[in-house]
């Protein structure tokens, strides 16, 4: 009995051993998947995030820097007996928010209860200090440090732009393959335009780590490691004091201030109102605040100096004068009667010469002057003659930096609009339009739009007597160089003598239409404008530069729905110039007038606007 049963057991034992060795042979020798998995398990490609480059103003004041922030990680398996009420109290969230966090966590593709996963992103230094001492109450939660953007000033939000985590579409579009999910990337303004300089280079360190991701020394003594390279610092052209003063003046108003240094094209101040506090768009509250800011009806993310477009209005008469003089169809002593049957005008000596026409902003004068520019009898056909004249005129205005983006070093710059013969051909048909069709252009109305930046650039051209440098906001990249195109001098092709003549008229114009702009001891050249607004009150516009004999600052100011240029815009421009040239503002009454913000006559103010003012639709 029981013969052979011993042998059966012996065979089973030996077979088991053989099965094990065969299986081990497969997983250890034939399948190299496991070796790779082990490496990805324990060799952590530890990415050392570089510090993003700092941003300074022209005087070395810090504008943007980096501040530490902290991600809260969770190892779900280790979380036992979580006191959720206490957790909510420490982390300042509701029970509902906590439940959502857990639901989101479980829904994540890479989620494992065994591995650390980000639970709460971007706790600020302040938050961290608050929770640090309570952290040991919550088993299974860990802290991982990072850095985020921080702002030394509450101003310049739109020009500097904001930084946020790279989005999925951006990642897909990124052909450089430098970015990974979770990386920060400049989304607008300087942060976006100078992204390649600011971002720096990631360092990679291969670390051995345990299951909790805790480092256990470097792999092969760091033979494959590289150090991170911090981003390059930027020196901007912004004068922080002037910028802050501009935002102070424009507070509560809708509009733009652009101040340039004429001799270099450097942007001294670029104010967009209303704006937002840049520190809102950083750190943990980013998404909440971004929703708030981007859905705000006053459109604080709309960078008006570059993106708002308005008819240039009376200021454009200066450009017309210069073109007329250069073309030889006007002389200093050319006189036209102030014929109000052509266009309306305001009371002034009549008839006047070119100087007076600029000084008093005579509409009929420029109507007739523009007819001379357009119709020079180059063709017997008046339609053809108008086309030749307009093409010629368009050449000139193009050289003033109008009708196309100037190429400032910020994204999303608009080009405004300067009509070409093609445009009118499309509207009216080839050979079916002539001067009488397009005469509105003479006084800066009609199919003509400029941005505040372009207008400031006109002021810089006036100051320079005929040339300009492309406006830019960054004067120096530390350890690099700025785009050489900002060093190229753009000529208008108009004799500087004509500019001197127009400058004199602009200087006198101050005393006519913009007496508020007069600064004792500083000779200022300026021109008011009133951009007609079909949706509500006209926009107040002023363009100026100073001092007249050695211009240091050129400025354009737009205040929407504030009526005449001589009031709010001229006052703001004048205060800005005084601030920049003297360092302090002595005219406190004028400052108070601007801050109070009541620029319309009482009767006009009492009349409700035709419809709610939208901030950009009125530019079309």
């Amino acid at each position: 009995m029981n013969e052979g049963r011993k042998e059966i057991l012996q065979v089973v034992i030996v077979l088991t051993g053989i099965v094990f060795l065969v299986k081990l042979f497969f997983i250890q020798l034939l399948d190299d998947r496991y070796a790779q998995l082990a490496d990805s398990n324990s060799i952590m490609k530890n990415i050392e995030y570089p510090f993003r480059g700092l941003i300074h103003d022209r005087n070395g004041n810090l504008l943007v820097y980096n501040s530490p922030e902290f991600d809260l990680l969770i190892v779900k398996r280790e979380v036992t007996h979580l006191d959720s009420a206490r957790f909510c109290e420490v982390f300042d969230m509701t029970q509902h928010e906590l439940n959502i966090k857990f639901k989101e966590l479980r829904a994540r593709k890479e989620y494992s209860p065994y591995k650390p996963t980000v639970f709460i992103k971007q706790l600020s230094n302040y938050d961290f200090a608050k929770i640090q001492e309570h952290l040991d109450e919550f088993k299974g939660f860990y802290i991982q440090p990072r850095t985020s953007r921080a702002y030394a000033t509450g101003t310049l939000a739109n020009a500097v732009g904001y930084v946020s985590e790279i989005s999925k579409p951006q990642l897909d579009r990124d052909s450089s393959k430098l970015y990974r999910q979770g990386d920060y990337v400049g989304q607008s303004g300087i942060e976006s335009y100078y992204e390649t300089f600011l971002r720096g280079q990631r360092g990679v360190q291969y670390k051995l780590r345990n299951v909790k991701g805790i480092e256990k020394g470097s792999f092969k003594d760091g033979a494959f490691d590289t150090l991170s390279v911090p981003g390059q610092n930027l020196i901007t052209t912004i004068d922080l004091k002037l910028q802050e003063y501009g935002e102070y003046l424009l507070h509560g108003k809708v509009g733009s201030i652009v101040a340039l240094e004429p001799s270099s094209g450097e942007v001294l101040a670029m104010v967009s109102g209303p704006s937002y506090d840049p520190s809102m768009l950083t750190g943990r509250k980013f998404s909440t605040n971004f929703m708030l800011v981007s859905s705000d009806t006053t459109k604080p993310l709309f960078n008006r100096p570059l993106m708002a477009m308005y008819p240039p209005g009376s200021i454009f008469k200066i450009v017309q004068s210069l073109i007329g003089l250069q073309e030889g169809v006007l002389t200093y002593e050319t006189r036209f009667p102030c014929d109000r049957s052509l266009v309306n005008c305001h009371g002034h000596p009549n008839p006047t010469n070119l100087h007076g026409a600029i000084q008093y902003s005579c509409n009929p004068y420029f109507h007739q002057a523009f007819r001379r520019i357009i119709n020079q009898n180059k063709s017997p056909n008046t339609f053809t003659d108008s086309r030749i004249g307009l093409d010629n005129w368009r050449e000139y205005v193009g050289r003033f930096g109008l009708g196309a983006p100037l190429g400032v070093d910020l994204p999303s710059e608009k080009g405004g609009q300067m009509p070409t013969s093609n445009l009118y051909n499309r509207i009216y048909g080839d050979g079916r339009w002539k001067f009488s069709t397009i005469y509105s252009l003479s006084i800066g109305q009609g199919e003509m739009l400029v941005t505040p930046l372009q207008m400031a650039n006109i002021a810089a051209i006036m100051a320079n007597k005929g040339y300009f440098y492309t406006p830019h906001l960054v004067k120096e990249v530390k350890g690099g160089s700025i785009d050489p195109r900002f060093k190229v001098r753009h000529e208008t092709g108009i004799d500087s003598a004509y500019f001197s003549f127009v400058q004199d008229a602009m200087s006198d114009a101050i005393y006519g239409t913009a007496q508020r702009a007069i600064i004792p001891g500083i000779e200022l050249c300026g021109k008011t404008g009133t951009a007609q607004n079909p949706h509500g009150y006209d926009h107040s516009v002023f363009m100026a530069f100073a001092p007249k004999d050695n211009p240091k600052i050129a400025i354009a100011v737009y205040v929407e729905n504030a009526g005449w240029g001589g009031r709010s815009a001229a006052s703001i421009a004048s205060l800005m110039i005084e601030k920049y040239l003297t360092g302090e503002v002595k005219r406190k009454t004028l400052e108070a007038y601007v801050l109070k913000g009541e620029f319309l006559d009482p009767v006009v103010r009492a009349t409700p606007a035709a419809q709610p003012v939208s901030t950009d639709s009125d530019t079309e």
């Binding site: 009995m1 029981n2 049963r5 011993k6 057991l9 012996q10 089973v12 034992i13 030996v14 088991t16 051993g17 099965v19 094990f20 060795l21 299986k23 081990l24 042979f25 997983i27 250890q28 020798l29 399948d31 998947r33 496991y34 070796a35 998995l37 082990a38 490496d39 398990n41 324990s42 060799i43 989620y111 494992s112 209860p113 065994y114 591995k115 051995l208 780590r209 345990n210 299951v211 909790k212 256990k216 020394g217």
Partner: protein
Amino acid sequence: MRREEAISNKMDWVTVLIYMVMVLLGWFNIFAAVYDETAHQSIFDFSLNSGRQLMFIAASVIIIIAILIVDMRFYEAAAYLIFGAILFLLLLVPVIGKEVGGNKAWLGIGSFGVQPSEFAKFATALAVAKFIGTVGFKMDKLRNQIILFIMIGVPMALILLQKDTGTALVFTVFVIVFFREGMSPFLILVGLAAAIIFILTLLIENEFYLYGGVAVILVVAILLGRKTFKRIALLSIGALLIVGVIESVDYIITDVLKPHQQNRVKALINPEADPLGFGWNVTQSKIAIGSGGLSGKGFLKGTQTKFDFVPEQSTDFIFCTIGEEHGWLGSLIVVVLFVALLLRIIFLAERQKSRFARVYGYSVASIFFFHFAVNIGMTIGLFPVIGIPLPFFSYGGSALWSFTILLFILLKLDAHRSQMLQRL
């Protein structure tokens, strides 16, 4: 003194040598499993598992000496007494035991604790051996079979009460002993078949493949044997029963269990379905072993076990450390050592002159075989994860002592095998 000379001369030194090599290798690997490069640690450090294991090894030596000194007749005489005492301790555990790692399996005196369930193995082996060794014992009597199953069923049930499923399952291995001593293989085959059908039902989504397989086997079985009506009818009924089992398993899995319980069962069978959740242990264990290659990463150079990727790496998953640091060659040595030990124990069992000693020897072989097969099987993904230690390698005092006692009582009996019959 003559007697002691005798025991050293009669001891089976081959087994002792294998035992010493295993315990020593186990100790080194426990150190490797807990070793932390950044902290300068010694293998003797008592705050580490390796230091404590050394203490357990020292205690084992004392236990061995005690076993060898005690009269060889004691083990048979006191078999039921020991069995009863251990059952009593097992009864005590749920009442005064302390909980360690989710299992209430420990009896503690101060900071020192033991697991009675570990010692139930050798006690049951002694009792079963004594019962089968009784004069006039006949395995084919139903009454005897029932008593035997009660003898292994009671400790099993008590251990299940402690929620220590792994250790409880070890007792099923006594069926091998019963088989060796004459029980019909029918029971083993039915048990094996049921387990295979259960696992296949879980693994194969489309049950029509299973039905097809059953049909094919039925046809082959009918064609191969004699084609009598009775045989065909029996086979058909068997096939129908199997289909019934498949249906009921399916029903329980999909309709009775809640989704998370279903996942747990499925993860037992197929860990790759959820490698970050329930399948973590097995996935990480296979990664650790699989990354070892031919000759391993070297002593103390393993990254997976040392950095806690594999849970329980010094106890149930100690084989991962061997596989990772010593590769296929290291695994080969360990597997060969176990196969050699098992074959040697069977050799020893077969040369016993008393039935008691032979049955006890087979019990030892069966228990070791179960631990060896299930433990290594689970670390390389051939078995579901059942938490039982690898004899002599896994960290733990109770386990080491339990296996040592099992083995050395056999060696003691073996040393006196020629005297065994004299007791009559």
